[in-house]
Structures are given as C-alpha cells and as structure tokens.
C-alpha cells in the first residue's frame, strides 16, 4: 500500500522514451488504432509524429468513444483563485515569488462575495486555486474555505500546493471531491532549473503527491504537465504512465487530465517547446482512444475557435468566464492575473455554444454529500 509511483517512473528513461516515440512507424500507429483494448504503448504510438497524418481518423474515433462513455454532455466549472501568495520561484509563472506584484489572500467575507458571483452565473462546480504559501494558506485555511462553500456548490475541487496524506484525508472528509496537481514536467533535470527555490523544488515529493491523494480516498485526481516547458510528447507519455499506475492502484478514484499550455504572463519566458493546435488535438484524441474513462478538461487558456471545435472531440469538462487573479470576479477585477485567458466569453455564452453543438451543458453532476 505504501509503495509509490517513483520506482515505476525510474524504470523509464526520458531519452529512450523519446527515441521510441520518434521512431514509431505509421504501421505501428495503424495497429494501435485498430485494437479494441489499448495499453500505454499504444498511447505512445498515438502521440508520435507518425500518427499526425491520421489525425482525422483519430478525431472520429475519439468522438465515438467519448460519446459512448460520457454521452453528449459537457460539464462546466470555474476556478476561484483564493490567493496569489507564493514562496516558490517558478520561472514561467506570473505568481512566482520574485515577481513584484501586490499579493492578496481572500478573507472569508471576500470568498463569500466571489463565490456568490460564481453561483449567480450558474456554476455548481468550483475549483479553488492558490499559490504555495504554507504558513498563511495551508490546510486550516482550505478547510475553512471548503466549510464555507459547501452550502453554495455541489462539487468542490482544489488546485493548491502538494500536501501530506493527513491533509488530504481531512479535505476528503470535508467533502472536497478532487485534487488537481500538475507535475509541470517529468524531466527531472529540467524540473530543477524551472523550480530553483521553494518547497516545489523537491521533484520527488511532487511526483508522489497523487499517491498521497489516492491513499486519502479522494474521489478524483487531476494530472497534467505544463505544455511548453519540455517536449510535450515525452512529458505526456509520463503523465499517462502515471495515470495508468494510479488507476490500477487507487481503483475507486476517477482521473482527469488537463492541458495547461504556456500562455503569456508577467515576467515569464517564451515556451521552450511550442505546441501547436494540431498537436493539442492529437494529444486529446490519443488520451481518449487510449483511456475511454478519463475525464478531459479544457480551460479558457485556449482560443475560442479551438474551444468551439474541440467540444465533440474528446473533452468532458470546460471552464468558462474564468478569472485567474484572487478577487477577479468582484473584489479586485483589475489585479494582475496568473496568466492571460484567451476565451473571455461569459459562462452563459459558453453554455449556449455547447447547446448549439448538440451537447448538453451540465452545471451540476455531483452531490456534495458523497
């Protein structure tokens, strides 16, 4: 029970994985596409450059599989940024400690105002987001926020700093439904250069975070990498490997994957590895074809045109009208955001768009008591 992902991860090397991806042949991709049950090696083939010419067929297959498993439904959620205080230096992030910007952590009454604004827009699923500032914004703060928000929302998830198992147990009991934690990159050496300081510089503690969440019995774990830091193909293979391991071990938990693509933010560098729209579509289809049960979430980082067309192709959840600054909905709409969002349309407009595509926008798909 106490074993972790680390030994599984260490059995692979970054370079050999990259080599396998880039030497995949079109015939191998075809074989993987024609199977009925696929494994992690099929996923590797489906995200290879050799699969790119088969993208149309992959999109059709992804659509079919998603429809059967999830129906014609898209869940809607919104992030609620509680704090931008952060003691980490992440060279790509707007909230990085060395960025000079006014720091703010919402008080209980401010949380209430922001939450009511989200509720008024129709949201029932909320994602609480913070930086990493363990003394002021730790588990006691999260528990208080969750306690307060439980009567307003049907589903509460968090995207905060990695915590200990006991913290996750307490949050699970407080009825937090899911935890999102992104490895940023699975390239150990590169990880060090992007995260030179702060608790986040501990690669292994972060890598084993989903294990601690799983041990705590959380309903959902969300994984992802920051697309643009390293080669997205290799990083995504390791993400899938991680999900594959977790799914077998913590079998009562659901898994979701997100695609934070590097976007402009104050003080950051340009992406090292550019991921194009056709790359992102290929990745989404590869995930779906490999894993029919995986929840796939797409944020407002993405362009409206891309978001419009991706609806039937594999995603199951979308955010809408997001603000990525604490107080961004009501309290302090002018403050600096973590990253610039691309799709600024209102939640109502996104819901209408989803309906126009023949899909049902789903605001509530959980019961806080579970």
């Amino acid at each position: 029970m106490n074993s972790t992902f680390t030994p599984v991860f260490e059995a692979y090397s970054w370079e050999e994985t990259a080599q396998k991806i880039y030497s995949t042949t079109p015939q191998q991709v075809q074989q993987s596409l024609h199977k009925s049950d696929r494994n992690i090696d099929d996923f590797l083939r489906l995200l290879s450059p050799a699969a790119k010419p088969m993208l149309e067929g992959m999109a059709q297959l992804s659509h079919q599989i998603t429809t059967r498993r999830f129906g014609k439904n898209i869940q809607l959620y919104a992030p609620l940024y509680l704090s931008n205080e952060c003691q980490n230096i992440c060279t790509y992030c707007g909230f990085s400690m060395d960025n000079k910007l006014p720091r703010r952590t919402l008080t209980s009454s401010e949380i209430q105002i922001e939450a009511q604004a989200l509720q008024a827009m129709g949201f029932q699923h909320v994602l609480l987001v913070t930086g990493e500032s363990n003394h002021t914004v730790g588990t006691p703060y999260f528990l208080q926020a969750v306690e307060q928000l439980r009567s307003l929302f049907a589903q509460i998830a968090i995207e905060v700093q990695p915590l200990d198992r006991e913290d996750y147990s307490a949050l699970h009991e407080a009825k937090v439904n899911g935890v999102m934690v992104y490895q940023e990159t699975y390239h150990r050496e590169v990880y060090k250069t992007y995260h030179p300081k702060g608790k986040k510089s501990n690669f292994r503690y972060r890598l084993e975070t989903p294990d601690r969440i799983g041990q705590a019995g959380m309903h959902k774990i969300g994984l992802g990498v920051l697309l643009g830091l390293e080669d997205w193909r290799v990083d995504s293979f390791f993400t899938a490997l991680h999900i594959d391991y977790l799914q077998k071990k913590y079998w009562q938990t659901k898994y979701s994957v997100s695609f934070p693509r590097l976007r402009p933010a104050t003080g950051i560098v340009e992406p090292n590895f550019v991921m194009r729209d056709d790359d992102l579509l290929q990745l989404i289809c590869a995930y779906r074809i490999w894993n029919p049960d995986l929840e796939i979430s797409l944020s407002t980082r993405e362009h409206p045109v891309f978001r419009d067309h991706i609806i039937p192709l594999g995603v199951t959840a979308m955010s809408a009208g997001s603000k990525t600054n604490p107080g961004g909905y009501v309290i302090a709409p002018e403050s600096l955001e973590q990253f610039e969002i691309s799709d600024e349309r209102s939640p109502a407009a996104i819901a209408a768009l989803i309906a126009k595509k023949g899909y049902q926008p789903v605001w509530k798909d959980w019961q806080i008591e579970y």
Partner: protein
C-alpha cells in the same frame, strides 16, 4: 399482456428509461414520450432544484411518470442511504434505485454495500430497486431484506454489449419472487427483446437511446422490441432443436409387430 406491478404501482409499459447522456433535455423529453415509458430514473447528483435551466425534472411529465431517483456517485452504503434520503426530499418519492459502484471505470456494483444499504432503506420504508451484478444468490439475499425488485446487469453500463450474463439472468428469473429488471448494457432492440423473451419483467435502457443519432426513432424501436419479447414470453416459445426430427428412430420398433 399482463401488467407489471412493483410495490404499489402498476405499469403498462415494461420499458424503463434513464435520463443521462442526452444532447439536450428537449431530446430526452421527446425520446421519453416516444418510448411510452412510465418509469424514468434520474441521478440525484444531476438535480439542481434551484437552477431553472438545468432542472431536468421540468422536462418530465410527472403526472404519468414514476420517478426513480438513483444514488449514482455513492461508493458506500452510508453514502447511498444519505443520498436516498436527500432524493426522497428533493423528488418527493420513496422509490430509489440503489446504485453503489465504487469502481469508476466499469461502474461495477458493490454487492456487499448494496445489500447493507438495501436492508437499511427497506426498513426506512423505501421502495428499493438495486442495481446489481447478475448474481442469483445476491438476488435471494436482497429479497430476504425487503427489496422491491432486482436490477441485474446485462453487461457493463454504457457498453452496449448486450446480454453477456444471459445464463445467470435466466437463473435469477427462474428463482425470483420479485420483479427482475435487466439494467445496463442493452445496446440494440434485439438485446431488449431477448431479455423479455427469457422472462425479464422489464428492461432499463439509457445509453443506447441517449447517444443514438435519432433518440426518438430508436426509442420507438426499443418499445416495439420489448413488447414483442414480452408477448412471446407470455405466449410460450417452442424450444429450438439442433436438427430436424422427423421420425422416432429409437422407438420405432415398438410399432412393429414381432413375436417373442
């Protein structure tokens, strides 16, 4: 054809429907009407009574329809019992489809938690319809604790694989003293027809209708198949034979005269 009775309610239609996965609530409503169904299951987790636009209940004709709230999302007996109580309040019915599937991948029902929850809910006066694996012994145990019906699966939820559990469904039907509703996995009208032919009291269908290109047309097709299968069951179907039997080769000698 005979009417179906569950607890205190009789049904003309043996086609029960689910409400998930539809492209819009309007489509769901149209399919429901086309199906002629009189019982519809709704997940408690999808009900937001204070949100006008998302209130799928407003698309269901509650005068003609038995609402069957379900506990989808619950992983334990404790959560399911709480969900049933919330559902009773929200939907004003003591009927409950007990769904406890802790495995989010194949949504396989947990037999142990289901039995515990069924016992508790029956004691509290609920009309309990549990979603279970096609396990004949579990069905008898559920009867003993007061279940109103049993809902064994044909194959995994949403899989459209048909009646993979056919032999076990037959055993359940043969032994059951409560109605048997085949739930989950029915992908085509012929699957539904087969379930009715072997004596199921009803079938519950969702995915095969909801994600069809034409939910209204396929709902009608299912309704006809279900009616045909039931009529055939009530009429009695002659057993099939592997080969034609024209004479009596083994006993023909009895018709011949011979002397000993």
């Amino acid at each position: 054809m005979n009417q179906l009775t569950i607890a205190d309610r009789t049904f003309q239609s043996r086609f029960f429907m689910g409400t998930g996965k539809f492209g819009s609530p309007q489509l769901m409503r149209d399919a429901l009407v086309a199906s002629g169904s009189e019982l519809v299951t709704v997940a408690l987790k999808r009900i937001g009574l204070h949100i006008e636009d998302d209130d799928i209940l407003s698309y269901i004709n509650l005068d003609q329809m038995q609402l069957l709230p379900n506990t989808s999302g619950a992983r334990t007996a404790k959560e399911a019992v709480l969900a049933a109580q919330l559902a009773r309040e929200a939907m004003q019915t003591n009927w409950i489809k007990l769904e406890i599937h802790p495995d989010p991948k194949y949504l396989m029902p947990d037999p142990i938690e289901t039995l515990l929850a069924c016992e508790e809910l029956a004691k509290q006066g609920f009309v309990v319809l549990p979603y279970i694996h096609a396990d004949p012994v579990l069905c008898k145990r559920l009867e003993e604790v007061g279940t109103a019906a049993v809902m064994p699966l044909g194959s995994p939820i949403g899989s459209n694989q048909g009646l993979k559990t056919l032999e076990f469904l037959s055993i359940i039907i043969e032994q059951s003293q409560v109605p048997v509703i085949v739930d989950a996995g029915i992908g085509s009208p012929s699957d539904a027809c087969k379930a009715m032919e072997i004596g199921a009291d009803a079938v519950l269908i969702n995915t095969a209708v909801a994600v069809s290109n034409d939910p209204v047309a396929i709902a009608q097709a299912f309704a006809k198949a279900i009616e045909s299968g039931r009529l055939a069951y009530e009429t009695g179907i002659n057993n099939s034979e592997a080969k034609a039997i024209g004479s009596s080769p083994l006993t023909e000698f009895l018709t011949q005269s011979y002397s000993s």
